[in-house]
Amino acid sequence: MRTGSLSTKLDVNLYETERLNQMVRQFGKWHQMPDDAVFKISLSIDELVTNIVMHGGRKEPRAHEIVLRLTISNREVHAEIEDDGRAFNPLDAPTPDISASLFERNAGGMGIHLARTLMDAIHYSRIGQRNILTLTKRVA
């Protein structure tokens, strides 16, 4: 894979997540990342950024900006998602019971579950007035 990095600021709305998805996929392809890895990384970033828009953008103090930093080097992809909203750790969300029947299933927590399962590691930290999520994925 080609080494490289990307850093960008987003407004806090869902249309931005749509544009971000396209950019992450193009970035992955340009850096010769395998298709399945591009899919998993763009989906995980999408889920976490969407979560910030839906939760961090609704309650005071609201998030006003989201910063994404994405780095590809030595067969490892590293993403950092930072926002300036109230303290919010998406990893605290309860894990959906994926063995439940259709009748018992609800839609909560699916996005976080996908990101957690598809990435090798996700960490949350609160630094000053900012939430920071770091994602790592080894790419074979």
Partner: protein, 118 residues
């Protein structure tokens, strides 16, 4: 209605295309719920042209599946690409939803299920 649909006997086939994300899932939910409001009982979602889905789209599928289960209807999916299938498996949807490899298998399977129920 933005969702392309056509009838195959008693089965309504809707074709999903491109990417279903947090924005497009809103339209998808409106279109699918409209079909169910119009009393669609057998719905096949053809995913042959679908190359991306996130949890907002999965939520719509779950709502539709629950609603059709309650009304004794049926919902099935066919022709999932490997990434979309991987998402279904990761979230456990392959166990609670009906997935067929292709459209002809789906139509045959849905028709025989309807015949058994009758």
């Amino acid at each position: 209605m933005q969702l392309p649909i056509h009838q195959e006997g008693n089965i309504t086939v809707a074709s999903l295309t491109g990417q279903i994300d947090s924005v497009s899932a809103v339209d998808l939910e409106r279109d699918i719920m409209l079909l169910l409001d119009q009393n669609t009982k057998s719905l096949l979602l053809d995913c042959s042209e679908l190359d991306y889905i996130n949890s907002a789209g999965l939520r719509v599928f779950l709502l539709a599946a629950k609603r059709l289960e309650q009304s004794a209807g049926s919902l099935a999916f066919c022709s999932l690409d490997s990434n979309v299938l991987m998402v279904f498996e990761t979230i456990g949807f392959d166990r609670i939803l009906t997935i067929y490899p292709d459209k002809s298998a789906a139509l045959a399977g849905m028709n025989s299920a309807t015949a058994k129920a009758a």
